[in-house]
Symmetry: C2
């Protein structure tokens, strides 16, 4: 499949691990570092490491898997390891993992010695279609997602479709939510295609298409002043639900599961506020509820969710700002939603 | 005096606190925050705060004074206060203080919600002629100076000459070292002027000239790929001496005192390696030793100093890289110096 050209960096699809090895060798880096988590260390690292056979100027840095690791303490640990391993400004960080690894690794690299090169090898569907493209880096503080970070582009992204085979079904579905979103906000044809596909094992073509959509948006607006806000559809409510679940649930929602809830709530708000038709609202709800289990959103949690939404970095002047749909494939940015409206959308979800 | 135009931002000299108030009011920020330390909170904050009389959309964040505060724990504290105070992407951070405040405040702002606006109001001579101009932000980890940071420009800099009157003589001299450096690396006329001035109370004109020199260099090379390395003269040895002193001395050297030592050592290396004449070496040593007290650089510390130099972020491939002089007012970048040469330069200093 065609290499996608992003904002000064390529996104490789075919023979991507070959391309990675070529990139590292031709980059003449003084040293390079593979950032992995305990899952990718088992399932993906051996495949990559074997290909670096013969090179001795690299080290492996492993962190715990999961969103709980995406914090400043892990960053400090990685920075210190880079110092101890002798990383200099001509070093490269390879982020081999899901969104936690690419977000946190990107932040670590973009601030180490005021910025060293980094690349992403996303190993989950979610990170392939979302985190690895667009130059957002970030970590959480006090469970507030991505509150600290930078806009810094990777030097390249290597999409290895084969790595998805190692993922449990629930992790695949976590990525599917972002693919559905890409269709909903800008591309009705893609939405139609997704509707008629097996979304439990999405094809490489569907992934390529999804990345093309996201890439087009982020190239037009790298620092989220305008059209990039389209990507926030489902994320105002979704992030709050995700944060709340991370704090309270023993087995927390995945990102995609939370965004699926957020998309239903914000589709409801779209119907109320920006003209999404009743028929399209029902269609969206049907597709999403067929894929994702329902989650109990007790009324008691609504106030807590609104408090979390207020702290979301998208908001200004204490107002909650949502991207909503006008129809499937089209969206409208910067819709101020009141607490009451947001609570009503949560109640709508709970009533399904 | 003339406002200097830097890389998309102005550096104000005259009526600079008036300009600051105007900037804040015309910027239509949702909220703004004054970052100060315990010294500027006493000597400078009241002057500034009084001028914001009538505005209620700001908060004050105070940290401990001194290089020891320039670490990630203080950053986390400031990030959390910004969250608690309701800072959003349309907020402004005003860094009111010396280099610690501008370096750390710049880093905090450049990473909070992936970057909010910040301005500097430097209150020490050192921060006026050095830290506030050039867009380097940074914090220390394990006493390694500025190892974590970004290249991010402030939106404006406000030089308030009057604040210098609150400084002890030793703090003034800490800034003088950078002024001397600006003359040595690119401007013989400025060096001559400095030599014949009272450097214990430098005039506003001398400060303006110094900032003009630094500004010209950083505009040409914002991310230190080339000519900006000129500013590192004296800093390879100087940073190591400073770090070592911070760790070991009860009353550590100021930045300028350490850089003064570094400039003597690197002037010696310049004489050995890049053709600086014996006469000019002696002239540099005389000017510097007349201003700064000698510091005991025991031979036992030389190895520790070289180890620190190796970790300096300027270096690559385990080699120590210095900017040296070819004559007063001209320099040569990227001179690899061996451990032996560096030790010899330390011995030269100790022999004075």
């Amino acid at each position: 499949m065609k290499t996608i050209q992003s904002d000064n960096y390529p996104i490789y699809f075919d023979n991507s691990i070959d391309e990675l090895v070529k990139f590292v060798k031709e980059g003449h880096y003084s040293r390079f570092f593979l950032l992995t988590d305990e899952n990718t260390a088992i399932h993906c690292l051996p495949v990559v490491k074997e290909r670096f056979d013969g090179l001795d100027n690299f080290d492996i840095i492993e962190v715990n898997a999961g969103e709980e690791s995406k914090n400043i303490d892990f960053c400090i640990g990685i920075w210190k390891m880079l110092i101890d391993f002798g990383a200099d400004r001509k070093s490269l960080l390879i982020n081999l993992g899901g969104g936690v690894i690419s977000d946190m690794g990107g932040f670590v690299a973009s601030t180490f010695k005021r910025g060293i090169d980094f690349v992403h090898v996303p190993t989950t569907l979610l990170s392939q279609v979302d985190a690895s493209v667009g130059g957002k880096t970030g970590i959480d503080i006090d469970s507030i997602k991505n509150i600290i970070g930078t806009f810094t582009q990777p030097k390249a992204v290597f999409i290895a479709y084969d790595f998805l085979k190692t993922l449990p079904a629930r992790q695949i579905l976590s990525g599917t939510a972002e693919m559905l979103k890409h269709g909903l906000i800008t591309d009705k044809a893609y939405w139609e295609k997704l509707k008629n596909s097996d979304l439990k094992t999405p094809s490489a073509e569907l992934i390529h298409w999804s990345i093309e959509i996201k890439n087009k948006i982020v190239i037009d607006d790298p620092t989220e002043k305008g059209i990039r806000k389209a990507l926030n559809f489902g994320h105002t409510v979704g992030h709050a639900v995700e944060t709340n679940s991370l704090i309270n649930d023993e087995n927390p929602l995945t990102h995609g599961e939370a965004i699926a809830i957020g998309m239903i709530c914000e589709a409801y708000l779209s119907h109320k506020k920006t003209g999404l038709s009743d028929g399209e609202l029902k269609e969206i709800v049907e597709v999403i509820t067929n894929l994702y289990p329902m989650y109990p959103l007790q009324e008691a949690s609504h106030e807590a969710l609104c408090t979390i939404m207020l702290k979301d970095k998208k908001n200004q002047n204490g107002q909650i700002n949502c991207t909503l749909l006008t129809q499937i494939g089209q969206c409208k940015l910067d819709n101020i939603c009141t607490d009451d409206e947001l609570c009503e959308s949560l109640t709508y979800y709970a009533s399904l």
